[in-house]
């Protein structure tokens, strides 16, 4: 309650101002409104002070309810989080690692070579090294790296990696000869030391000195086995194309080419990252790639190969390939095909199919085959867990086969991986026949199947908990009237707390004493499970105290009784059914856009034909006649006082000087407009003609924006020829894209301004936020991405500007996330007092932006996050975000016009917008499509909050934005004083709940179908990434809704507005 303590002085100073001097427009800012408002509230009588006390009491009660709401939502979120934990534990596979180590006795033959040099060129795709006819040269990377193909005494193989094609997994596969399971893929950032038997360990155990240089993943994996002189370089900074490669070359120069230090090592390993980084940063078809390959070619042909002596064998290999965008991680052909090159000047290799034969034949080998081959050539035991088979072209076939077969047989006997009897008999048969190749093939095939074994109990629990949580959310946020939930909060919170404690204690003691239930691994899982029981029971007690099941079913059916709720439900169902088939999942981007367009067309139909609908909101609006009048009808004249409006009446009574204050809702706000348009008081349909035109216009905006945005896409590999990728670097860093981003600096603020002007809300804080903060942030953002454009198209900037780039990006992030949010928390209202008639008798004033005072303020918060998102998205994605803002605001306008603020369709439409924009900001539900490079916008190296912030903002930006703006469905165009603070908050929570319902249904559907398809050919490629995406999506939506939308923002806005208007 600002200013209410100094009423007298204010009034005396104000009165002369209004009486004697002509009021100046420029002092009529927000502060002025506050003053005049509080002036009107001077507790002159006993009744007044009573009212003030009552107001204060109400607000303090509101605060308590608000806190309880947050706690309730938090528990529901926790429930879902636990369900995801259970499901992931059961579904994401792990392999049982056996720690046995092979010993030297298994080696049947002395080594062929004493020393070895291994050069790993990350992401060296097979077709990079195969020359083509110069005439057929289509891509810049062709015919650049031909040294491998043209060297005598060598072998060149197509080297097939096992998915997932991430460097860490490949290194594990390359050294252990085993198949990493999917769960490992997540730990690429923090690999742990391999305890499993592997090549490097074997070298170390057999007194070979291993010297390493390059990718620091090796440091994490093999550190104890490597010489101290080894040198490691930061691996994940993909924008650094040179450091690692230069480092490796210098290191090789020192230890290999200069001969003096040649005897300090037995095996020299280099791991270069340049090619991979060029791929991530520019894609394979960029000129940088040809430079890089040329550089590799020179190094290998002129330096490396000549320096290899007869006792040394040289391996040059890639660990995986890259797809057409330069990324990897999945299992498309391009990602799997890598290169293996083995060379030695020794005569042993002279029998190879040589370069001077007209064409080398393409021989394909598995990546794990390197392990027995390498072991054999260096006379080492084959690592215990190996599943590969020696490459017959390179080794002494008979001895090597025997040794490998023995190793495989021992491994099977120890690990008992295969338990199927038929397969066992077959294997034994092969072993007796000494048919090693078939033995290995069968063994490998069965291992692959075996390591896809799921813990179905955990999976079932996970699905069950999520289903229960869905029911709870539906009941609490949708079925039970939102006002009642507000009261029930006070019962929910203690009962949940109590039940959680009871169930944790009892279940843990049961678990400790009886070791039951047996499906729980340890006390952590036991506690989680107990929490679930506690939350569910704790929620059920207050619910069943008041309602019964029958009522719930009836209410559920009732809720789906109106047309628009059904539209929303159909959209949710259709989207959830996407996961029933791999084809629908593949094409989800198009399907989502199609569904959103359908919503747009339906609303267009609604506005064009205005069909009769039985509106469920009729009841609600009937009970709030004030809401109807002050709500929107555009034709309210400013000069006329709306006597029906209680708000202005009160102001009239208390404020004689500023006599007539009425609200402006008008888009066609024209002071000189003398046409007295009758106020349409009725809030029931049919809509007025003007409203219908406006609505149709907004529907068209949605349709157009969706269609335009859906032209931006990164195609999934499976989409094939039906999809042309447009989100490629060539477009992202093209002049037209940059130009459009330049235009955005004016377009975006002006578009938002347009939406604000509809309710005359572009006042006070809005011009500062939108016209200045947003505009300048967009300009900085443009400069930042302009630098990238320059580097991509023109060439490197002659002087070092790295520090400037970081400064820029940090300024933008600091501004948007910290400064602006703190500023926002102070309460920037977008209203203004407009005084027209300044003669003494009848001064008239208007509060501009009154009707949208909540919404206009809340949207400023959305802008804060929008600024941050812009920085973390590539230029084309920024265009998509621009369209998204328009979609969001248009949807808000439409559902305000249709009076569907409480309806399921609103959150569903917003949810569809978020999914559609996820896809059009250059993402797909696959691992390779994650834009890792966005993690390095704020820092050069991986550092905890910043890299992750970048990746999350980039990947889940649209979801964050929508989760915040979901509150606007309630707040947009919501004039103050119509609904009580509690009611408003309850409605916001209800809308948030509906968004959560949408995301939970999707998550549940993906859970169910990924379990159903767990043996499907495409499970790791299509269903599993989609399921993980659904999980993260749900968690992030939950997080943002609980802590930002409801926790931080909604309560604040409601309190601040009510402090001004004293409601």
């Amino acid at each position: 309650m600002p200013n209410s303590n100094q009423p007298k002085t204010t009034s005396t100073t104000l009165n002369p101002t209004t009486n004697n001097k002509k009021l100046k427009q420029d002092i009529l800012d927000e502060q002025y409104v506050r003053k005049s408002m509080s002036l009107s509230k001077i507790p002159s009588t006993r009744q007044e002070s009573e009212e003030l006390r009552f107001y204060k009491h109400r607000i303090s009660r509101f605060r308590i309810t608000h806190t309880k709401y947050i706690i309730l939502l938090f528990f529901l979120g926790l429930l879902q989080f636990i369900s995801i934990c259970f499901f992931a534990k059961g579904f994401l596979l792990t392999r049982h690692v056996i720690d046995d180590v092979s010993n030297l006795e298994t080696v049947l033959k002395p080594p062929t070579f004493d020393k070895a040099v291994v050069l790993i060129i990350d992401a060296l795709r097979y077709d990079f090294v195969v020359p083509v006819e110069p005439k057929q040269c289509l891509y810049p990377w062709q015919n650049k790296f031909t040294a491998l193909y043209n060297t005598d005494n060598s072998f060149l193989f197509k080297f097939m990696a096992d998915p997932p094609t991430t460097t860490l997994q490949r290194l594990k596969g390359l050294t252990t000869g085993s198949l990493p399971t999917f769960i490992d893929a997540g730990s690429n950032f923090n690999g742990e030391i391999i305890t499993e038997d592997n090549l490097i360990k074997q070298l170390y155990l057999n007194d070979k000195r291993v010297l390493f240089t390059g990718d620091d993943t090796w440091d994490a994996l093999f550190n104890p086995y490597l010489l101290d002189k080894s040198q490691f370089f930061e691996s994940l900074n993909v924008w650094d194309l040179q450091t690692v490669d230069r480092g490796v070359m210098d290191f090789f120069n020192e230890y290999l080419f200069q001969k003096q230090k040649n005897d300090e090592w037995d095996v020299l390993i280099g791991h270069m990252l340049g090619v991979d980084h060029v791929g991530h940063k520019h894609g394979p078809n960029h000129y940088e790639m040809s430079n890089k390959l040329q550089e590799m070619n020179d190094f290998v042909a002129n330096r490396l190969i000549p320096s290899i002596d007869e006792n040394t064998v040289l391996f040059i290999m890639g660990d995986h390939g890259m797809d057409h965008t330069g990324n990897h991680g999945g299992d498309s052909q391009d990602e799997l095909e890598s290169t293996l090159f083995i060379y030695s000047p020794n005569k042993i290799f002279s029998s190879s199919n040589n370069a001077h034969d007209n064409h080398r034949q393409t021989v394909t080998v598995d990546q794990i085959d390197l392990v027995p081959t390498f072991s054999h050539l260096l006379g080492l035991p084959i690592p215990f867990n190996n599943l590969g088979w020696p490459i017959k072209e390179v080794v002494d076939v008979e001895v090597a086969n025997k040794q490998t077969l023995d190793q495989l047989y021992t491994y099977q006997n120890v690990s008992k991986v295969i338990s199927n009897k038929d397969v066992l008999t077959k294997l034994t048969q092969y072993y007796k026949l000494n048919d090693g190749i078939n033995y290995q093939k069968l063994f490998l095939k069965n291992c692959k199947e075996k390591w896809a074994k799921f813990d179905l109990v955990s999976v079932g629990i996970g699905i069950g908990i999520l289903a229960v949580s869905l029911v709870l959310i539906i009941v609490i946020t949708k079925l039970i009237p939102s006002i009642v939930v507000g009261q029930m909060c006070h019962e929910f919170v203690p009962s949940i707390f109590l039940m959680c404690i009871i169930s944790i204690v009892s279940l843990n003691s049961i678990f400790q004493i009886l070791q039951q239930p047996s499906f729980l691994d340890n006390w952590v899982w036991c506690t989680l499970f107990a929490l679930v029981i506690g939350i569910v029971v704790g929620c059920c007690i207050p619910i069943f105290d008041r309602y019964n099941l029958k009522w719930m079913f009836v209410k559920f059916a009732e809720d789906l009784n109106d047309y628009w709720s059904r539209v929303g439900a159909v959209m949710i169902t259709l989207h959830a059914l996407c996961f029933t088939s791999n084809s629908f999942t593949i094409w989800e981007d198009r399907i989502v856009a199609f569904l959103l367009t359908t919503v747009g067309f339906l609303s267009l139909y609604e506005f064009t034909f205005a069909p009769k609908r039985a509106s469920t909101n009729a009841l609600l609006s009937a009970s709030n006649p004030e809401q109807q009048t002050s709500r929107k009808e555009m034709e309210m004249t400013t000069t006329d006082i709306n006597s029906a409006d209680v708000q202005s009446n009160r102001l009239n009574t208390y404020n004689n000087k500023l006599a007539n204050i009425s609200h402006v809702d008008s888009k066609i706000h024209d002071n000189n407009n003398n046409d007295q348009i009758t106020i349409s008081k009725s809030d029931t349909l049919p809509l007025g003609k003007f409203a219908r035109i406006i609505g149709a216009y907004h529907s068209l905006i949605i349709i157009l924006a969706t269609r335009l945005a859906s032209t931006i896409t990164v195609c999934r590999e499976e989409q094939g020829l039906q999809c042309k990728p447009t989100f490629v670097n060539a477009n992202n860093y093209s002049w037209w894209c940059l130009f459009l981003c330049f235009l955005l600096i004016w377009f975006l603020p002006n578009c938002i301004k347009g939406y604000y002007n509809v309710s005359s809300s572009y006042q006070a804080a809005a011009p500062i936020w939108i016209g200045q903060f947003l505009k300048s942030a967009l300009f900085l953002n443009f400069v930042y991405w302009g630098i990238y454009w320059y580097e991509n198209n023109v060439g490197p900037i002659p002087f070092d500007i790295t520090v400037w780039k970081f400064t820029l990006s940090r300024i933008i992030v600091g501004l948007s996330i910290i400064a602006l949010n703190i500023g926002w928390a102070m309460g920037p209202t977008c209203i203004k007092l407009d005084i027209k008639n300044t003669d003494l008798k009848s001064p008239q004033a208007t509060i501009l932006g009154y009707s949208n005072v909540y919404g206009s303020q809340f949207f400023l918060l959305v802008i804060n996050f929008l600024i941050c998102l812009f920085l973390f998205n590539k230029p084309l994605a920024q265009l998509s975000l621009f369209l998204m803002v328009n979609q969001l605001l248009s949807i808000l306008e439409i559902f305000d016009l249709l009076k569907l603020k409480e309806n399921l369709v609103g959150p569903v439409a917003l949810g569809l917008v978020s999914y559609q924009n996820f896809f059009t900001t250059g993402h797909q539900a696959t691992i390779p499509s994650i834009q890792w490079d966005m993690g390095f916008i704020l820092t050069e190296k991986i550092s905890f909050p910043f890299t992750h912030l970048g990746l999350i903002m980039n990947t889940f930006g649209p979801f964050i934005l929508v989760s915040i703006s979901i509150a606007l469905l309630t707040l947009w165009k919501q004039p103050p004083g119509v609904l009580k603070p509690q009611t408003l908050l309850a409605r916001i929570v209800s809308n948030c709940g509906m968004l959560l319902i949408y995301n939970t249904v999707l998550c549940l559907s993906s859970f169910a179908w990924v379990t159903h398809f767990r043996r499907h050919l495409m499970v790791w490629k299509i269903f599993c990434p989609r399921f993980m995406f659904a999980c993260v999506c749900l968690i992030i939506t939950q997080f943002v809704i609980i802590f930002i939308t409801v926790g931080f923002a909604s309560g604040r806005v409601i309190r601040q507005v009510n402090n001004i208007f004293w409601k």
């Binding site: 629908f584 593949i586 339906l602 034909f609």
Partner: protein
């Protein structure tokens, strides 16, 4: 998809025809149920569509708002569409389908649909030959341009020019299917509200058929725009068959 098709088609038809023909009855283009369907003053029967309108005709002496009713009759069922779809599913020949659809649709309009359209009470309008030809030769192609835009907005592929051509052919077919409704809109005072269900039915057929496109069955009939053509025909069949009842 549905709504815009209707909107735009009605817009175009309105302007078109107002230029082309001036009729005695005062014309006003209306879209919404509220304007077109006259709710009887006497009783409050809901929605006031078919049943109530026929009873309320006499109560409007000013003559500006004549309700139009399509009679409930088995003869409005467009049986000819079924063999056409069958033929198309056998051959996928979108061009020949035109030669078969155009005469049968004209026939259907003249002898089935028109005869069941009751204008202003119990009056069945005589065939307006000029309008039959004008709407077929001008309105349908023009409307299909609009429909093409709608299809593209709804997500029709734009990968190459041949796709665009196919989309245009598809929208030509859709407009041909709605030809009886278009004619009736022209002929019956532009009461779009009465006839919009036929447009909606066709659009809904197309909308629903989209769901087979992404499936990876690699069948020939999954190619653009075959599912939509079939969906449109089936939608039209259902729409014209049950249109009078809803």
């Amino acid at each position: 998809m549905s709504s815009v098709q209707n909107t735009n088609s009605s817009n175009i038809s309105a302007t078109n025809a107002s230029n082309a023909k001036k009729r005695k009855v005062k014309k006003s283009v209306t879209f919404s149920d509220y304007d077109t369907v006259i709710t009887p003053v006497t009783n409050g029967s809901h929605n006031g569509r078919n049943k109530s309108t026929s009873s309320s005709i006499e109560k409007r002496p000013d003559g500006s708002h004549y309700p139009v009713v399509v009679r409930k009759s088995i003869s409005t069922v467009p049986f000819h569409l079924i063999p056409l779809v069958y033929y198309y599913m056998k051959t996928y020949d979108i061009y020949t389908l035109f030669y078969l659809t155009i005469p049968t649709q004209v026939f259907y309009l003249l002898f089935q649909f028109r005869k069941n359209t009751i204008f202003a009470g119990k009056k069945i309008l005589k065939p307006n030959w000029a309008l039959v030809i004008v709407s077929l030769v001008f309105a349908v192609p023009l409307l299909s341009c609009v429909a093409t835009i709608i299809f593209i907005l709804a997500g029709a592929p734009l990968l190459s020019l041949s796709y665009l051509k196919q989309t245009f052919l598809l929208s030509l077919h859709c407009c041909l299917l709605s030809y009886p409704a278009i004619y009736s809109v022209f002929n019956c005072d532009f009461k779009v509200g009465i006839f919009k269900k036929y447009f909606v039915a066709i659009a809904f057929g197309c909308w629903l058929s989209c769901f087979v496109i992404p499936l990876d069955w690699d069948r020939e009939w999954q190619n653009w725009p075959i599912p939509l053509v079939i969906g449109g025909y089936l939608g039209a069949f259902v729409g014209y068959a049950v249109g009078a009842y809803i």
